[in-house]
Amino acid sequence: MKKDKDFNFKINGGKSLGFTINTKIYSLASIYQAAYLFLDRAYVYLDGDPEKEIKVVMKLKGPSFAKATEGRGQELERIAGEFYNELLNQLLREKVSETNAKIREYIVAQALYNAVPNEVDELLKEVEEEDWQEDPLGIAKTWEETQSKKDKKQKTKNK
């Protein structure tokens, strides 16, 4: 079993890699995200208590030939380093996402608002497009004009 004092991981006979992650520093969500990115290269197993620490075991995919043990050991070491880097990356993404949540919601709301036709604007546009000089209901006429027309009609009727 090879142990690295700097990164706190163990390589077991060149076959698997084991390490722990402090969940006070890295959230479970960031661990899931980081692990997801390694699923094409390794088999990843998680265990432990999300409130204290998560234990990770990784096994490389591919045939396990005896000759390749040393090479696989080096590959596992490399993966350990990459995994820690990816954890930092995911943690940063999480923090940035939290910080920008309100701005993001505002931008999306604005985009949706602009995409939907505004009924008030459309009504105003219709009114503006109408020719104000047309008076189909005769509203613009004065009372005297309307009344004199009625009187004339009455007079012709009486005749």
Binding site: L28, Y32, A35, L39, Y45, D47, G48, I54, K61
Partner: protein, 66 residues
């Protein structure tokens, strides 16, 4: 027969069941609650996948958790 124990604090039953749905053509799966874990027993594994099925299944469940 293969047995996998998924820690319930880390993996959820929904993800395990969904994964079983995807892998059901390759083996027989049984699920039960065991000692705070989700225990999955896999048997009658398709011969072509017997070396990798357990690991691939576990990876698939983890992928669903992300």
């Amino acid at each position: 027969m293969e047995v996998i124990q998924f820690n319930k604090k880390i993996y959820n039953l929904e993800a395990v069941k969904k994964a079983i749905g995807e892998f059901k053509n390759l083996a027989n799966f049984t699920v039960k609650d065991f000692n705070g874990n989700i225990e999955v027993k896999i048997d009658k594994i398709d011969q072509d996948f017997k070396d990798v099925l357990k690991d691939e299944f576990s990876n698939y469940v983890l992928g669903l958790m992300s």
